[in-house]
């Protein structure tokens, strides 16, 4: 197995006081689905955004596909690397007034010059590919619909499609199911799992729900207060580990899951 992504002593500090990540180390192999779990404010979103430099880490090294992301200075080089990193969001972050088709094609903008991108010119190949991906996510009927007419689950599938037309090596998902009902959540997680196994795209997903993480991931990284406190297989996660990740807040624990071990064994 080759390593696709590696964090070495990565720290991130906002302003003078807020330490969002401190001395984070882990690595992700090609084709893995890794869940990052932790209470809100633990630093999950910050961690994901440090990978594609939406946020600049304060120190450390982030090696993606052999290159240190933090050492890239030229805007052009950074954009070229970002095309290889797809991202989906809790609130989908689509242009709601535009059609599904247009939103999905936005995933190609990273490959375009300023003028071509601004005019939104796409070639036949790109359009065909976009339609194919939209269909594979079960949105055949919605291709030319405006996104503000879609349900949450459908919007998130548009978000996934936009990331996939980038032809990415890795997909970053920041709480992709936090705003969805259980059924839509399952559809989205199944798609992510499927993307990972059939397309071989590495998936890094921030999750709030421990049971989902246990059911879907190849590996779990638990963070708390900006530190990695667990890094291992879902099946090896003990009650004590869970307490270390989520703290001793019993309410949060109860909300998340009653009997974590039993769920883990069901996989």
């Amino acid at each position: 197995m080759t390593t696709l992504l590696q964090f070495k002593n990565v720290s991130k500090q906002y302003g003078n006081s807020t330490v969002a990540l401190s001395d984070v180390n882990f690595s992700v192999n090609e084709g893995e689905l890794v869940s990052i779990i932790g209470p809100s404010g633990a630093g999950k979103s910050t961690l994901l955004r440090c990978i594609n430099r939406l946020i600049d880490a304060t120190s450390g090294e982030i090696i993606f596909d052999g290159a240190d992301m933090l050492k890239i200075n030229k805007k052009h080089d950074l954009r070229a690397l970002r095309t290889k990193i797809g991202m989906i969001f809790q609130n989908y972050n689509l242009v709601e007034r535009l059609s599904v088709f247009e939103n999905v094609l936005h995933g190609r903008l990273g490959y375009k010059s300023a003028l071509v991108g601004a005019l939104g010119l796409y070639n036949e190949n790109e359009k065909k590919q976009a339609i194919k991906i939209i269909q594979s996510l079960g949105l055949n009927e919605q291709v030319y619909k405006r996104c503000d007419q879609l349900s949450g689950g459908q919007k998130q599938r548009v978000g996934i499609a936009r990331a996939l037309v980038q032809e990415p090596r890795v997909l970053l998902a920041d709480e992709p199911i936090a705003s969805l009902d259980p059924n839509s959540s399952k559809v989205i997680m199944d798609h992510l799992k499927n993307i990972c196994t059939t397309l071989g795209i590495t998936v890094l997903v921030n999750l709030h729900q421990l049971d989902v993480a246990l059911n879907y991931s190849d590996r779990i990284i638990g963070i708390s207060g900006g530190r990695v406190v667990y890094d291992g297989l879902p099946a090896n996660l003990t009650d004590e580990d869970i307490r270390r990740i989520y703290g001793s807040d019993p309410e949060a624990l109860n909300l998340i899951i009653q009997k974590p071990k039993e769920v883990a064994q069901k996989i």
Partner: protein
Amino acid sequence: MRSNFLMKKRLYSGGILLVLVLLAFGAASMTEFSLAKCFSSIPKAIVWSLGNFYPVADSFAKLPDILAKLQETLLISIASASVAAIFALVFALIGSRVTKINNFLATLSRLIANIFRNIDVSIWALVLLFSFGQSSLTGYFALFVASFGFLTRAFMETIDEVGADTVEALRATGANFFSIVFQAVIPMSVSQLISWVLFMIETNIRAATLVGILTGSGIGFVFDLYYKKMDYHSASLVVLSIVLSILLIEQISNYVRRVML
């Protein structure tokens, strides 16, 4: 504890009210403004208006003149608002939190917009009078500058509100600045931006009257002319035509808004 908290809030509100009342009284006595005198003069004003301030057959002979000036004023208002909108969009994109290129340019752009916005259109008219003299060009520039300041601010806030998340998503795909602006920011905010421009055109037509008086151009100029000649009948016709054209423009922009949104 709770009742104490509410009590405190009530005392606070009461205190603010008291300060306002004191300020009003203080200002009125300093300027020798009397509310009673003010109200008692209203009937007198009405009587005067009814006696003098209405168009008569004679004044309709001046209608072609008035309409020509009105047309000039409308065109100047529309032109100044539209051209200002283009400049405002550029400055708003540079100044918005969401789309800024860097902090220095963003601050600079905000500063420029604020300076232009906080100086009233009448001041601009007087200042520009020195460089351009009494002409419609002066009026045009005054309206342009004031529109630019206001629209930059309005556009900036629209973009701030509408776009942060989607802009982040497109930045993550590797899209460059111009792609993000034209593919996401503008499609998301275009209807609100147009709404602001329509509002600006309405505002400019109102302001054009005053600006016209100051710069000796457009509809304001003819009003001033008739008024000083004590030809109140013709002056009233000017006012009437202004009111009618503002109502008309409002109807049109309401219609455009309905269709757009």
